[in-house]
Amino acid sequence: MRSYQQMETGDVYEIVRDAIHLDLLAKQLTQPQDGATLIFAGVVRNNTQGRRTLYLEYEGYEPMALRKMREIGETLKQRWAVNQVGIVHRLGRLEIGETSVGIVVTSAHRRTAFEACHFAIDTVKKIVPIWKKEFFEDGEIWVEGDFSQSPIL
């Protein structure tokens, strides 16, 4: 199985087109000084407000997405006593139950890991230029955010 490319700081920021292996990522990131590893997986759900989803397609502005993922990781390490951060986003067609985005945060203490990881995924969903198109039995739709919460305002 592949391994994730760690930066000099040990952190991982990757955009992939195949399955995300969060167990592997967590193993690579967890260090002896860690007491808590928190792993978030964003998963393709079989419905949106009751409407049955068939599959999703993710598209990204890759170099900017990677840059923003790195910025989020750096923010995490500035604001919290986080040891290691991993953010991996998948693009392309994803089936129900597959992981579209994975975030791993390790820390000596669990509260730190929870707060930092929650901030990380919320921020990924706001500022990382990746979009999803949802395919239903009777049509398709681009899922777009609320402009009023956009990062330039």
Binding site: E59, Y61, W131, G145, F147, Q149
Partner: protein, 83 residues
């Protein structure tokens, strides 16, 4: 002056390609790029109030100054998810 603009997601679909080259005598700000784009692709009209603009992979606004060789990108807000 020639400027290449990357388009993504629904905007890319509406325009029909992921990179457009725009020409105009003078383009000083993102607004000039946007005005040129919508003159060339009227189908983007009505979309403008809910788009994000980036210059060199940083969020920008309509008044952000640009120069030859800058990487411009225009796209809808990111999905945001549902908490």
């Amino acid at each position: 002056m020639k400027i290449k603009v990357l388009l993504f997601a629904r905007l890319r679909e509406i325009v029909g390609c992921e990179m457009v080259e725009l020409y105009r005598n003078e383009m000083l700000t993102v607004r000039d790029v946007w005005d040129t784009l919508r003159a060339q692709f009227p189908q983007v009209e009505g979309f403008g109030k809910s788009l994000l603009f980036c210059v060199n992979q940083e969020f920008a606004d309509l008044d952000t100054r640009i120069k030859e060789g800058d990487e411009l990108a225009i796209f809808p807000p990111v999905s945001g998810g549902e908490d």
